[in-house]
């Protein structure tokens, strides 16, 4: 297998990079100042691409790799892969579902708690010595609030289960209503936003869900409403979100993802009613290792002609 060429498009967990290097002929995209140069030299050697939430395989790259057989994503989201082009060319695509569900759901609830209870601000308050001069102000109770979930897939359901532990009421929007669900369904995102206190984005990014959180939804969520995004930055019309936060038309936001990572809108740094973190949804050693093993397992299965572990197709 050492002669099979694998292109790693972006830095990943060291364990994954090391294993890929051991098992295959590994090309690291960042070793080349221009992708064009990489392609010119090695295009015909590359049979597999490994990407993540930040970078994958677009139509241009797929066209440039005539021997490409499989794209194995080190993420559950595959919005950086041109799925249509892959289908067209019979290229297999795999991702890392299930193993990161718990971590992402934990973070979603963590962001809700940190945001409503102002944990980051409180921590800053104590570290700055201000506590000696007076107490921190009143915050907002989380237990018992209504949580609206956009996308009731694996991650959405895991978030719902945790929120129920806090006596929260759960409602959701999904492409289609889940008939066996005990949670209240709303047929539109605006209606969902109007009827919840905390709205969390937990669906895949597709053409349909691009900017699904727009001005209308933000206004429906309102000045007492909170937005949590653990999906993709492009789910949210970011300039609209920023102006709503700055103008007080939204109570606050907890964001793990941004439209143009690693760029974070400057205005957010000046706000105390936002919690911003650098895409750490699956960021634990346990989970990233499990994800890496899925990537490696999928590649191995493919090149041995065995059934893939977690294929999309």
């Amino acid at each position: 297998m050492g002669s099979i060429g694998v292109l790693l498009v972006t830095p990943v967990l060291p364990y994954l990079e090391q294993e890929l290097d051991k098992r295959y002929k590994l090309f690291r995209a960042w070793d080349y100042p221009e992708t064009a140069q990489l392609l010119a030299q090695h295009a015909t050697s590359i049979q597999a691409v490994v990407g993540n939430s930040g970078a994958g395989a677009d139509a241009e790259m797929i066209e440039a790799l005539p021997k490409l057989e499989i794209v194995s994503c080190f993420s559950v989201g595959v919005d950086k892969v041109d799925l249509e082009k892959c289908r067209e060319k019979g290229i297999r695509v795999t991702n890392t579902p299930h193993v990161l569900t718990d971590d992402v759901a934990d973070l979603a609830i963590g962001l809700m708690l940190t945001l409503l209870r102002r944990i980051c601000e409180c921590d800053r308050f104590v570290r700055s010595g201000k506590w000696k001069h007076g107490d921190y102000k009143l915050t907002t109770k989380f237990s018992g609030k209504t949580v609206g979930i956009l996308g009731l897939g694996r991650i959405g359901q895991a978030i719902a289960k945790r929120a129920e532990g806090f006596n929260c009421s759960i409602c959701y929007y999904s492409r289609t209503e889940k008939r066996n669900s005990k949670y209240k369904y709303y047929p539109s995102v605006v209606e969902l936003a109007s009827n919840c206190d905390v709205l969390v984005v937990a669906c895949p990014l597709t053409e349909e869900t691009h900017h699904i959180i727009n001005r209308e939804v933000i206004n429906a969520l309102g000045p007492k409403g909170f937005l949590i995004n653990i999906g993709r930055g492009k789910h949210v019309d970011e300039p609209e979100l920023v102006s709503a936060l700055v103008e007080g038309r939204l109570a606050g936001a907890g964001l793990d993802v941004f439209e143009n990572e690693p760029v974070v809108p400057e205005e957010l740094f000046g706000l105390e009613n936002v919690v911003i973190v650098p895409h750490i949804g699956s960021g634990t050693l346990e989970t990233r290792t499990a994800m890496a093993d899925l990537v490696l397992g999928n590649l191995e299965a493919h090149f041995l002609g065995k059934p893939l572990l977690t294929p999309l197709f």
Binding site: D106, L107, R127, L138, K141, S143, G165, V277, P278, E286
Partner: protein, 335 residues
């Protein structure tokens, strides 16, 4: 005008007196709601000593005290009020009140009962998730490093919370709310309490050291008293181990703070989340430089919702007391 003023002050004289000590943070919200029903005496606004202030207000007519956790209601204070029948604290904890002396003098003591339990449990889980997943650390990091375009994969990985073994120290109202929340994260619960609880099936450990040996996380939810002072000592911390995490939403005195700071500095424990400290608002400055701790200024119950609830409860308890009806909440006094 003078007559009106006279009428007002006469009216005030008729209202039952409540001596406000501290004052508790909730008093600023309580006062406007109930000042037409009770005469709140406020020594904190006076330059006089407490004794002088009380003597000025005819001590035999003072039957009730309202206090918060920052004022110690000691035997000396109780001695100043020979007619005292009720101490009302706007807190769940009662370690700032000499409960034995209250029992001796036949004084009833009431707290907030289970009113704050949800908010405090929320804080416990918030400190735990934040600490293990590095949320505050990440927010801090992003605000500091983003302008340099520091690559995000340089931010260190956190620790998974789901499925971890969590030991609850003190399975009272707050402890049970914490359990409910962490069970929904798939955590495995065990506990240590004064007595084993027949109503729950979680594994019970006789000692906190044994509990710590068998857990990844400890959450402190018990009251502070002679038996629980420094219940978290070096032996317990080392038993929890290098990857372990401690959350304290009880009282600072539950932990040997100097020892915990030392263990954090030596890397003997993974991290900690504190809402309370031994000597509030003083916080060991070594903690300010650490990324693996989350610090909160004793604000677990300080939410809009809890404060609205506590005003209603205190008002209700005062009304019940002064009309000789049963109190809405009461505290068990030690034998």
């Amino acid at each position: 005008m003078a007559e009106e003023a006279n009428n007002c002050s006469n009216h005030l004289q008729d209202l039952p007196k409540v001596l406000v000590l501290g004052p508790p943070l909730s008093f600023q919200f309580l006062q406007p709601l109930y000042s037409h029903k009770f005469n709140f005496l406020k020594p904190h606004l006076s330059d006089f000593s407490l004794q002088h202030f009380i003597n000025h207000h005819h001590p035999p007519s003072i039957l009730a005290i309202l206090c918060g956790t920052k004022f110690s209601v000691t035997a000396d204070v109780l001695r100043l009020l020979p007619s005292l029948r009720l101490v009302l604290t706007a807190s769940a904890g009662t370690d700032h009140i000499d409960l034995s002396d209250c029992r001796r003098c036949g004084i009833q003591v009431t707290g907030v009962g289970a009113l704050f339990s949800e908010d405090v449990a929320d804080m416990a889980v918030a400190l735990l998730v934040d600490g293990m997943r590095k949320i505050s650390e990440a927010d801090r990091w992003l605000r500091k490093n983003n302008r340099d375009n520091t690559p995000w994969d340089l931010f260190p990985l956190g620790s998974k919370l789901s499925g971890k073994r969590v030991g609850i120290v003190g399975l009272g109202s707050i402890g049970m709310e914490v359990v409910k929340r962490l069970e929904s994260f798939g955590c495995i619960i065990s506990y240590n309490s004064k007595h084993k609880k027949a109503t729950v099936s979680y594994p019970f450990y006789d000692s906190v050291v044994e509990l710590a040996t068998n857990c990844d996380v400890l959450v402190l939810c018990c009251a502070l008293n002679e038996q629980t002072k420094h219940i978290i000592n070096r032996e317990v911390i080392l038993a929890l181990g290098k990857g372990g995490f401690i959350v304290n939403v009880g009282r600072g005195g539950l932990i040997d703070e100097t020892e915990l700071v030392k263990c954090l500095m030596e890397g003997e424990i993974g991290g900690a989340g504190f809402d309370v400290f031994e000597n509030e608002p003083h916080v060991p400055k070594e903690l300010f430089k650490m990324d693996n701790v989350v610090l909160s200024p004793h604000s677990a119950a300080i939410t809009v919702e809890s404060f609205m609830d506590v005003c209603e409860l205190i008002g209700g308890n005062l009304e019940a007391f002064f009309s000789n009806k049963p109190l809405l909440t009461s505290v068990m006094l030690p034998k």
